[in-house]
């Protein structure tokens, strides 16, 4: 008789996610090619994307703020193995981008730039999907690309590294 060392018990659960009021505003903005965040009434930090609360102050963020697609790379890595979900071939660059006027960097792909030229402080801008393909998803921003501006000084983003 053979010893049983493992069994397979498949589990699948489906969920209907509730984005929430703040994140819903952000996602609907994506469908219009706009980037909407929220400002904390106490510490004035701007969260993009917003979740409806300032995690530092524990108060609702009620003031909506629109920011542009321009920002600064605060940190990055170069991926050298193929991704199951991203269609870009390796090596490619993933980065945290801090949008101008925002206080929360978010994850982004950097393209239109040799991977070994990406650096902290590099100035970048969002490249949007064609208008007819814009939807209520983060994927409406296809990626970020460099812009012809001097690098941001480390002091300007060191809080976010």
């Amino acid at each position: 008789m053979s010893e049983i060392t493992n069994i397979t018990t498949p589990i699948r659960l489906d969920y209907t996610y509730t984005a929430g009021r703040a994140t819903q505003r952000f996602l609907l903005g994506m469908a219009e090619g706009r980037i909407l965040g929220q400002r904390c009434p106490e510490c004035s930090k701007v969260y993009v994307p917003p979740r409806g609360a300032c995690p530092k102050c524990g108060v609702p963020t009620t003031d909506e703020v629109e920011v542009t697609g321009r920002g600064t790379v605060t940190t990055f890595c170069i991926v050298r193995i193929p991704s199951d979900v991203l269609s870009v071939p390796p090596p490619f660059t993933c980065a945290h981008v801090l949008l101008d006027g925002a206080d929360l960097p978010f994850f982004a792909l950097i393209q239109e730039c040799p991977f070994d030229e990406v650096r902290m402080g590099m100035r970048v801008e969002a490249v949007w999907a064609p208008k007819e393909e814009l939807a209520a998803t983060f994927e409406s921003i296809r990626y970020f690309r460099p812009i012809d501006e001097p690098d941001a000084p480390f002091e300007s983003y060191k809080e976010h590294t």
Partner: protein, 353 residues
Amino acid sequence: MALRDVAVVGFAQSPSVRRETSGNEVEMLMPILAEAKQQAGLKGKDIGFTVSGSCDYLAGQPFAFVSALDAVGAWPPIVESHVEMDGAFALYEAWVKLQTGEVDSALVYAFGKSSMGDLPEVLTIQLDPYCVAPLWPDAISLAALQARAYLEASGKTERDLAEVAVRSRRTAAANPKAQVRTSADAATLLATPYIASPLRAHDCPPISDGCAAIVLACGDVVKKSAMKPVWIRGIDHRIEAHGLGIRDLARSPSTKLAAEKAGVGRGRVDLAELHAPFTHQELILREALGLGGDVDVNPSGGPLAANPMMVAGLLRIGEAAARLAVGAGKRAVAHATSGPCLQQNLVCVLERD
């Protein structure tokens, strides 16, 4: 070592609704946390310890409880903990923390959005993963096994179960936060079809989204409260064997033992809030707790009227305390449960000055 006197000094809850579609957990929690702290007369930075109860399987995302901390304001870093259980068990942890003397106040909160998944199936995941969960017994089927065992052992009838639901709905009519508030007589309820025999819809709890918060305090901090303090005179929790087949499902020895340790029998009980999501469980719990017919059970309507998962146990403590605070009685028992068929039970004795 003498125990410190711990008081409930703030309590707030959201309405329980079938589906909260606009707000995420953080957006649901923020006004409730603010209300509870305001009652306690405390600001966020005054709180010595924060602890929550929730279940990531309800949200379908790992570490959902960490995201919920956005509602608290956890910077600069705070002293914080979490239990993957009902908030009543988080309250127990807060009570222990207060006993250590390290802090004089604690914020306890719980949240659950059951509407995002298929709740009876989500609850299957808490079962033994090798021999029980692969068979996918859902939560209502397991409760029905227990109900059958109880009816056979006790000689009670399905009408006795329906009477529990009738009373629950009648009292819930006066609770604006409750979800099931439509009255019905026993005959009408008994004419409805079974969901899982011997349980009909009225024997089962509604599926609810909701959240709640309680503030506990010791010593001079209690004086800041706008709410009349309600003291925790005893609190204890006990667990049954894991295997459902090992247990006598018709009784709740863990509740009985917790009640003895918490001192339920040391005085007259005016009201009780019991975390009995199914009608037969209220009858099992009444017996285990030794509650007579003169005790006002579930004046809020109880979990048959509003059952946000991971919240409904904490609600029992809050509802009982809120009633004592406004003079509806002098001494109350609150009970909370976790797991299938009353697997684990917490008993809390509350008193007004």
